[in-house]
């Protein structure tokens, strides 16, 4: 039982990192980025490839995987999302595009690396301890501690640095942020790079203890999304709670019921939570407060040259 909870928490941490990626991209651009799971897969696969085929040392290969994944995030933004948003083709299309990108990345990696699952060497130093009769490995602890550190760093970045402040400003009110000289297109690009980095780090932490394969990306994206919605969309802490709940739940279902029902029960829980508590377990962040309280009067002539055409409530934004 304890072993199940621990392995559930470990995979839940990865979902939490994916959920954080969703949150940051969604808040700054309004787009649900379903390529989020691909970042986790891509970094693990790239690192493994750099070690086995190119003979790089592990730390260097890990760095290579991280950089490559961030580059992929930036490329998705510049080549796919930004052009769509600038031409105002609509948020919905951009969301579908990220889904397409996710499948395309999976296929690309399948062609490039084949369908075999990959693993990475254990992160040094390795050690273990016992919790009752349950063995806890260092790899599992690294994932949990790593997730906590990454999200703390991310919150500190958002709170204390000018770029973080610009990101928050743009997320809260991109029109006004624009008037203060903040380009939504640039901020969206930074958000994608950050989301890719967070996902990549998750991949580098999890791949040593759990196999990663090209085809796992879309599933990761989906579970991460469920975690984000379950905890309260847009909140980093919500993603953590949601991720842990989903991770542990999946382990328990797989052990006591059947792995075949894992997905069904995961989504049933999501639907139940959404029916009872649509704002998620922790509730949605209140960054939209000012927008809602503002009347649309005199905002008719604010034509938004932005990315996002959709307010956070999913209603068309007040554009003329």
């Amino acid at each position: 039982m304890i072993a199940l909870v621990i392995s559930g928490v470990v995979i839940g941490c990865v979902y939490a990192l994916i959920a954080a990626g969703y949150a940051i991209v969604y808040r700054t651009t309004g787009v649900l980025n379903f390529a989020q799971g691909s970042f986790v897969m891509l970094s693990g696969m790239a690192c493994s490839w750099l070690i086995t085929s190119e003979g790089w040392s592990y730390p260097l290969a890990a760095l290579g995987g991280l950089v490559l994944t961030i580059a992929a995030g930036a490329a998705i933004w510049m080549l796919v999302m930004a052009p769509m948003l600038i031409r105002r083709l609509g948020i919905g299309l951009a969301v579908i595009a990220t889904l397409v990108v996710s499948y395309a990345l999976t296929d690309a990696v399948l062609l490039w690396q084949g369908p075999d699952p990959r693993s990475l060497p254990a992160i040094q130093p390795t050690w273990q301890f016992h919790l009752g009769s349950t063995r806890v490995s260092s790899g599992q602890v690294y994932v949990i501690v790593g997730m906590a550190l990454i999200l703390l760093l991310l919150s500190a970045f958002l709170k204390y640095t000018p770029l973080g402040r610009a990101t928050r400003a743009s997320a809260a009110d991109h029109e006004t942020a624009q008037l203060l000289g903040i380009s939504p297109v640039r901020v969206g690009g930074y958000a994608m790079c950050i989301a890719a980095a967070v996902g990549a780090l998750g991949g580098l932490l999890i791949t040593p203890i759990q196999f990663t394969s090209a085809s796992g990306a879309v599933q990761l994206a989906l579970y991460g999304f469920v975690a984000a919605v379950l905890g309260g969309f847009g909140r980093l802490s919500g993603g953590v709670i949601g991720g842990l709940v989903i991770g542990v739940l999946q382990e328990l279902v797989a052990r006591y019921i059947s792995t075949a029902y894992s997905d069904a029960i995961t989504f049933a829980v999501l639907i139940a939570v959404l029916l009872l508590r649509p704002q998620g377990l922790l509730g949605a962040p209140d960054y939209g407060r000012a927008r809602r309280s503002r009347s649309s009067h005199n905002r008719m002539n604010r034509k938004v040259h932005h990315a996002s055409d959709v307010s956070h409530e999913g209603q068309p934004a007040r554009t003329s």
Partner: protein, 270 residues
């Protein structure tokens, strides 16, 4: 040279309605330039065009020898043109200080990477910008509210924040959309002093307002619009004597007699 904001022949049509028709005027640096007119005169649309939010159908806007039509708002701010909104738009979730700092950062010199990691150079700059932000907030009595969430300010405080945040961008041409709306006498006086300071710094101000006392008391030049057209352009004295202006406000073709009379009454009282 080229430091004046030259608006020439801008037009904008909305589904058959000519909101702005071939409007031209020039705002000099170090000048407070009033833009007035009855409701529906096209002031707001003109301001929207000037701040890059509304693409005009025709016309050109030049500042510092640069054509600015087609420039997105965030680039316009960097080119030196910033605006406020009639309805204050605080960035809720950020503190009052952070609201001002967000704009001030245009003046910062640290690069993106430095902005992401808080290098020593950036810390020094951040300290300087923070002091500047607090000074700006202090000039309107908001210093002690610096750490409050901007969404929690009172309406009057928000008005000041809107103006101060705009000043903080370092823009040299400020477009202020009814900054005194809903303000009491002492508040308006404080705002007047603030705008006067801006003028003394050699920055230009385009001031849209309904309060004729405020406009006539502060402006060096006034442009009057009616039904999308510029009907008069000149010093406050010339405007006061203008037959066309009197007619627009009193006999108005805008169907807005009540407001027109009221405003004309105020103007006449000057």
């Amino acid at each position: 040279m080229g430091d004046e904001l030259v608006v020439s022949g801008i037009s904008k049509q909305y589904s058959g309605v000519q909101a702005v028709a071939d409007a031209s005027f020039t705002v000099q640096p170090g000048e407070v330039h009033g833009l007035v007119g009855p409701n529906g005169a096209g002031k707001s649309t003109a301001l929207g065009i000037l701040s890059g939010f509304i693409p005009p159908d025709a016309g050109s806007i030049t500042y510092r020898d640069r054509e600015l039509v087609g420039t997105v708002p965030d680039k316009l701010v960097r080119a030196g043109i910033a605006r406020t909104f009639q309805e204050p738009s605080p960035i809720a979730g950020l503190t009052v200080l952070e609201n001002v700092l967000t704009g001030l950062h245009i003046q910062g010199h640290a690069g993106t990477l430095q902005a992401a990691v808080r290098s020593p150079k950036l810390r020094a700059e951040e300290k300087r910008l923070k002091a500047e932000a607090l000074r700006l907030l202090g000039s309107v009595g908001l210093a002690d509210r610096a750490d409050a969430d901007a969404g929690d300010l009172s309406f009057g405080e928000l008005r000041y924040l809107e103006v101060v945040r705009c000043l903080g961008t370092g823009a040299t041409m400020l477009l202020l959309d009814e900054p005194a709306a809903g303000m009491g006498k002492t508040e308006t006086e404080r705002l007047t002093a603030l705008i006067d300071d801006v003028r003394k710094q050699g920055r230009g101000v385009l001031l849209v307002d309904h309060d004729m006392g405020f406009i006539f008391g502060l402006c060096d030049a006034i442009t009057v619009m009616n039904a999308g057209r510029v009907i008069a352009d000149g010093t406050p004295d010339e405007i006061e004597k203008s037959e066309a202006v009197r007619e627009a406000y009193l006999g108005g073709s805008t169907g807005n007699h009540g407001a027109g009379n009221h405003e004309a009454g105020k103007a006449g009282a000057q």
